[in-house]
Every structure is written in C-alpha cells, then in structure tokens.
C-alpha cells in the first residue's frame, strides 16, 4: 500500500493560519492503515488546529470527515456539499488523493496534510518499509521475490556493490543490503544460477523517467 507520514503540524498551520473555515479530510484507504491520515488522525489534527486557533485568539471553524477513498471520483462527489462550506481542505490522503480532490474541487485550495513516502508493507505495528518503486517492469521472478530497484540504494541490477557489509547497506546499519537478501533467498530457492546471470541495462522508460504514466484497460475502458 501507499505509506505516508503526517506533515509537521507547523507546516500545516503555516498554510491555513489565515483561513476562517477549514475541513480536514481523511481517507479510509492506505493512510488509515499506516496511521497517517485516517479518521483518527483527522480528528487529532482537527483538535490540534482548533486549539491553535483558540490560543491565537481566532474563531476559526475546523471540522473533520473521512472519505472511503480520495482516488475515485464517486467518493469525492459524496463530499461535494460539505466541501462547499469551507475555505480550504487539508487532505490527509496520499498525493494522488490530494490532487484528485484539487482537480474535482478546482476552485478550492487543497493542502496536503501528509508526506507521501513510498509503496510498502507493515513490518509491525508502527513500522512500514519500502518494497516497490513502481518501475513498470517487474523483475521479481528473477530475484527471488526481492526487488533490487526498491531495496538496493543504488538500484543495481548486478549487485551487491563493494560496500555491502554484514548484510547491511553502506548507507546505514539499519538498512539491509538488498542484494545480500536476494542472494540468500536465491540460495534458499536453489536458484543461484539466476544470480550468476548478468542483467541487461534496465529500460527505465516504463518508470518515472519515461514521464507521467497511464494505464488503460481496454476491455473496461468507456
């Protein structure tokens, strides 16, 4: 899922401090799971903003809602009447949701309340780690199910580099060496021949490098 992290509250306050009516919009999707922007976080932010404005001597109205998802129009349309009543919306959805809100309610300033970080998984409660870089051309079959683009700091195709030490990446003892993991996994799977095979230069054009991307499913397309 998409992993996000709440923005520092002073950053959010800076954007909304001169407004009179603010709506905090959470999202029940990914950001709820990673505890960054669900209803709970929206309520906490709402409370914090209300207290901020109070102590600043202002009478600002701050309310919270949470949408099922902010990346699908029908759910955004459900909030249309509510959004009308406010000067701006602080959206706690991922970057995609914030943008979709902004597109849908294009006369209304929409501010992001979280920093969207990566595609990842829940390691344990309160901890999420990156797994996928959305390169558009998945090679997980040849690397034992571990992605070198996302998990190698140098996104090497023929790793590890000479900085791999004790299973850790040279950039930090807290970062596993992606290629060390791949090697161990391929060994477990009896697929070390895959490790020896040289990997050709990657076609990055399906990745961010190729420009903003689009997927169309013909059979479903209107």
């Amino acid at each position: 899922m998409i992993i996000a992290k709440p923005k520092p509250i002073d950053e959010i306050i800076n954007e909304v401090k001169d407004l009179d009516k603010i709506l905090v919009a959470g999202c029940d999707g990914c950001v709820t799971v990673c505890e960054a922007g669900g209803m709970k976080e929206a309520q906490i932010l709402g409370s914090a903003l209300r207290m901020y404005f109070r102590q600043a001597g202002k009478d600002t109205k701050v309310d919270e809602i949470s949408l099922t998802r902010q990346c699908d129009r029908p759910y955004l349309e459900q909030a249309a009447d509510k959004v009308k009543e406010y000067d701006a919306v602080v959206s706690l959805a991922c970057g995609a949701g914030v943008q979709f809100l902004a597109e849908t309610f294009n006369g209304k300033p929409i501010f992001p309340g979280v920093n969207t970080c990566f595609i990842g998984v829940t390691e344990q409660k309160g901890e999420w780690t990156e797994r996928c870089q959305a390169c558009g051309d998945c090679i997980l079959a040849s690397t034992g199910g571990i992605c070198p683009i996302a998990r190698c700091s140098k996104r090497m195709s023929n790793g590890p580099c000479g900085g791999s030490s004790n299973g850790n990446c040279e950039i930090s003892k807290d970062t596993a060496c992606g290629w060390h993991l791949i090697y161990e996994r391929l060994k477990e799977l009896g697929q070390l021949d895959r490790f020896e095979r040289p990997n050709e230069p990657k076609n990055w054009s399906t990745s961010r490098d190729g420009g903003p991307r689009k997927v169309i499913k013909e059979v479903s397309h209107q």
Binding site: I9, I44, A48
Partner: protein, 123 residues
Amino acid sequence: MSYPTNVKIVKLPCSGRVDILHLMKAMEEGADGVFVAGCLEGDCHYQAGNLRAKKRVAYVKEILDKIGVGGERVAMYNLSAGQGPRFAEIAREMTEKIRELGPSPIRIAKRQAGERPTTEEAA
C-alpha cells in the same frame, strides 16, 4: 488521603486505554492540565499498556508545544495501586505546576468568548 479538589479523576482499566484523542479533547475542552497515572514500569497488568500511554503522552506534549498550548500541561506518572499517599503527592505536584503555568490559553479564550468550560476551575 486527600488531594486537591480541582483534580477530576477518570478511571480506566489500564493507562493503555488512554487514547491520544482523549488527551487532546480534554485540553480542547479547556482543562488546564491532564496527567496520566499508570502502573510502575514493568508492573503493567496488561503487559505494556503503561508504555503505550507514555508514548501517547509524549506525542501529545509535542503537539501542544507546537500549537502554543504548552506540553508541560500533560504528564505521565507511574505508581502502584497501593501507593495512595504517592497519588496525593502527584496530584499536589501537578496542581502546583499548573497553577504556576496559569490557566490554559484555551480556557482563557473560551472564557473570553463567553463559553462555559466543562471542567470546574479550582477556587
């Protein structure tokens, strides 16, 4: 055992039941301060409830500092259920601290706006 009358007690089965939002709401309603009294570390009946409470209190402190209300107004204390006198001591300590800080800016603002705070003020 006596403790200051301005202290309102909310009973919970475990300090781990305290949610961030409970602390926020209390302050938002105009409480001058909130303290969480949990069991001694290592003694939690539910294993780690008091550790979770500690983290949540720290989280709320940070927010309160950033929004101009002041993180010193919330605190975590640890004591055992049998430590009646210690509880009274903590209540007095907290009350003293809050008195020094003065009323919470939220309470002041609410008063000025003519709203009745939902928590009683000490005489």
